[in-house]
Subunit: 145 residues, 2 copies
């Protein structure tokens, strides 16, 4: 098991890719994105439709259409994507699956797990969609399998 669902992994990588192409000027088609992040095109299309409905990314149909990200969204945190796709159990849920994480009725891992969970939350809260654009352009970071 990975930390994120496959859907969420695709979503994050795709949003990074769209951000990159947006600042490089212009819109980017689903085929281009799917190739750029090594994901199944039609599945990714569904994911992006969802993110689009939720306002995280934007799109226009027709010739020269495609996906892009509004400038303000470039500074939204990754946690917005994760929450939209995987929900918030990673941020607030009990590591051992108890109905709810609680200080008064904690599971054995509660104290240690809480710290780790908060750390994950903090990482995703303080990392923005647009912040890796230059490293991605320079090829210092990868979005491909």
């Amino acid at each position: 098991m990975a930390i994120f669902s496959k859907t969420c992994e695709y979503a994050i990588r795709a949003v990074f890719y769209i951000a990159l192409k947006t600042v490089a000027g212009g819109r980017v088609g689903i085929k281009d994105i799917a190739t750029g992040i090594d994901s199944p095109e039609l599945y990714l299309a569904k994911i992006l439709q969802d993110l689009s409905r939720k306002g995280l990314i934007s799109s226009v149909k027709g010739p020269h259409g495609g996906f892009f990200i509004e400038p303000p969204s470039l500074s939204r945190p990754l946690s917005d994507i994760v929450e939209a796709v995987d929900g918030d159990s990673l941020f607030y849920g009990c590591g051992l699956g108890l109905k709810q994480c609680s200080e008064v009725n904690p599971c054995p891992l509660h104290n240690e797990f809480k710290d780790i969970r908060d750390r994950i939350h903090k990482l995703l809260n303080t990392t923005t969609i647009g912040e890796f654009n230059s490293e991605l352009i320079d090829g210092l970071l990868s979005l491909k399998k």
Copy 2:
């Protein structure tokens, strides 16, 4: 998405429960365990069969039979359970799902994620199956939903 699969959550809670009952003296039946950790009995049976085959827990059939844990296994780390059930991608895999986590071709989250991942690994490596027995007996910790 939670950190562990449901199967793994059940597995960990069940192993804690069996450890508890083992030190309290004796074997514990699947019905008792399922009730004790709030899990579907027959599904849990499958999980425990697997853990038993892998040597993490033991069992005997027949009257007064049930599950128990060999004393040496009480000091095995939780990571053994997690690895047996969910594999090791949580410990070594790329957070964004790249084929493999790499220093030379890292994903955008690599540096931060690596630390978190190592922290999870360390927690599970240094936490043993038997170490919560007294708190569980005292009711300070919970295994029930």
